[in-house]
Amino acid sequence: MMLFLQQVSNGIMLGSVYVTVAVAFTLTIGVLNFLNFTIPTLFMLAGMLAWALSAWGVPFVHAGPMPWQAALLFAIGVTVVASLFVERFTFRFLKTRYGDATEHAIPLVSSLGFLLIIENLIRIGYGTDTQRFPGPQADLSVNIGGIFLRVPQLISLVIVLGIVAGLNWVLRHSRIGRGLRAIAENPDAANILGVEANKLVPIVFMLTGLLCGLAGVLFAINYGEVSPQMGDDIGSKAIAGMVLGGLGSIWGAVIGGLAIGLTEMLTIHFFGADTVQVAVWGLLLLTLFLRPQGLFGHHSIGKGKL
């Protein structure tokens, strides 16, 4: 029983990483109707940069390695910039000229292009190996009623939930948030009402970069390892979490992300590690077939601008 509960808590901790990335996905798709495949790559970018900066220092400036705390912040910053760069070359070019079946996917395809670019540039620059991230000594744990919780993971969970709650508050109560929600519901009406999409859309990408950067950095701290492949796995699980929770719903992404983490841990516990892929993706496929709007999502999102 204790082992089971331990696995549950591990699942939740793991899920919190997925949550951050899932929220980034769901925010972008909710506001912009854009499935941004670059998101897992940004996550990886943050992690790899944090390592690279702490191991080698800033490129082209042979000043030696950075202390890991500074590396983390720098990595997040670069990730945000990268995200804005992606916005400039993907979303700006969505053209609804013909209204045909594949037009909505233009930014999606561009984001796939960026996925290839960033992932492979990192591979070229830093190789394909997994690297150790120095970070704080991540062995601190607390024992709550017989369950071990690692302190960094606990802190990450708290940070993540705090950020998500904050994001939710911003969306609900601030002017920017109202503008974003207006764009999500009806971009043309929002435009007529004076909501300046050109100013607000980059904010979504900035938030995306921030969330992915944070997630990547927290991952590096918690698990101590980064690799150019780390985005693939996390990205898939985050997408699954987003769909489960419902496209466009932030709390849905939270619950979905945690649920996926839980499913993963329990599947490993009962059936072994190899079955995770089938379990998670099978669940996702069933959700898409039977209840595509997930737990909390809207019916109309994601079907392409009609």
Binding site: F93, T102, L116, I124, W281, L285, F289
Partner: protein, 309 residues
């Protein structure tokens, strides 16, 4: 012909067939991001029959195609009821489920893969690719092809014109699946070994991208995309050593293991994708372009009838 060029032709042939496999659903408006899954079904189908029962390629390849066609047909119905981004995700999810299932299947070798006893020379994939190419050109010139492209542009009106749009899309998906199965089976018999790790998300992504790059309005597009993607590494072989040296020096790294040379190819594919989506989202080869290059049709210039009134 040297072994090296035989290898390139084999890969080119397989890539062309895969390109057409993805082209068919995309031409009707369904982005298929799960190509690797269908190819895996074909590859493992053929590999299994060859290694377990020792069947000849004349049996394994048709079987693989039929199996993949059946799987595609069955999955198409629930799949094609999802729309837009949900469809893309569902195709991706499907490929992952296939990958995961094979990974866990001891019968299929699991993570260790399967070796494939029966071998085919490069002529088999090349001839297959030629046949497939001719077939697709033919198909696009029929009413079926017309209706496929109409469904892509406006499925509501196409339905009102009397077309069973879902039926067309399922058919395109199933035929595409069969082609992916063929590509997989040819791969299995050309490289004598299959492992599921090779049929991954990256494969699905870059097949879709080079098809979109080439253009999805005509049968020329996927051909162009596949040829470009296959030949790109050859072009890079010249430029690469210089680039690598410079990168290493500039970044100040020593000792990290260098990435496979493949990586530059993907960077270029990525850059071209981004540029293409920005400036010419229909892809390189469009209907208009093909039309302009055709001189044989009798063309009467448009007379603006209203101007005479």
């Amino acid at each position: 012909m040297s072994g090296y060029w035989a290898g390139i032709l084999t890969i080119l042939a397989i890539n062309v067939i895969m390109a057409y496999a993805i082209f068919l659903p995309v031409a009707t408006g369904q982005l298929n991001l799960g190509g690797a899954g269908f190819q895996a079904v074909g590859a493992y189908g053929a590999a299994f029959l060859s290694s377990k029962y020792g069947l000849s390629v004349w049996l394994t390849i048709p079987f693989a195609m039929a199996l993949t066609a059946l799987v595609s047909f069955l999955i198409a119905f629930p799949l094609l009821r999802t729309k837009g981004v949900y469809l893309v995700l569902a195709t991706f999810a499907f490929a992952e489920v296939v990958g995961g299932a094979i990974l866990n299947s001891t019968m299929l070798g699991g993570p260790m893969g399967l070796s494939v006893p029966a071998f085919v020379e490069y002529q088999v994939p090349v001839v297959s690719a030629l046949v497939v190419t001719v077939f697709i050109f033919y198909l696009m010139a029929t009413r079926f092809g017309l209706v496929m492209r109409a469904a892509h542009d406006d499925d509501v009106v196409t339905d009102l014109m009397g077309v069973n749009v879902l039926g067309i899309r399922v058919a395109a998906f199933a035929i595409g699946g069969a082609l992916a199965g063929l590509a997989g089976a040819l791969y299995a018999h050309s490289f004598s070994f299959v492992e599921i790790q090779g049929f991954n998300a990256s494969l699905s992504i870059y097949v879709l991208l080079y098809v979109l790059l080439g253009g999805t309005q005509t049968a020329w597009g996927p051909l162009a995309g596949a040829i470009f993607f296959t030949m790109l590494p050859e072009a890079l072989r010249v430029a690469l050593p210089a680039l690598k040296g410079w990168m290493g020096l500039a970044m100040g790294i020593q000792g990290a293991r260098t990435a496979p040379d493949e990586s530059w190819r993907f960077v270029i594919l990525g850059v071209l994708t981004v540029l293409m989506m920005m400036f010419r989202s229909e892809g390189l080869i469009t209907r208009v372009m093909v039309e302009k290059l055709r001189f044989r049709r009798r063309t009467v210039p448009l007379v603006n009838v209203d101007a005479h009134a």
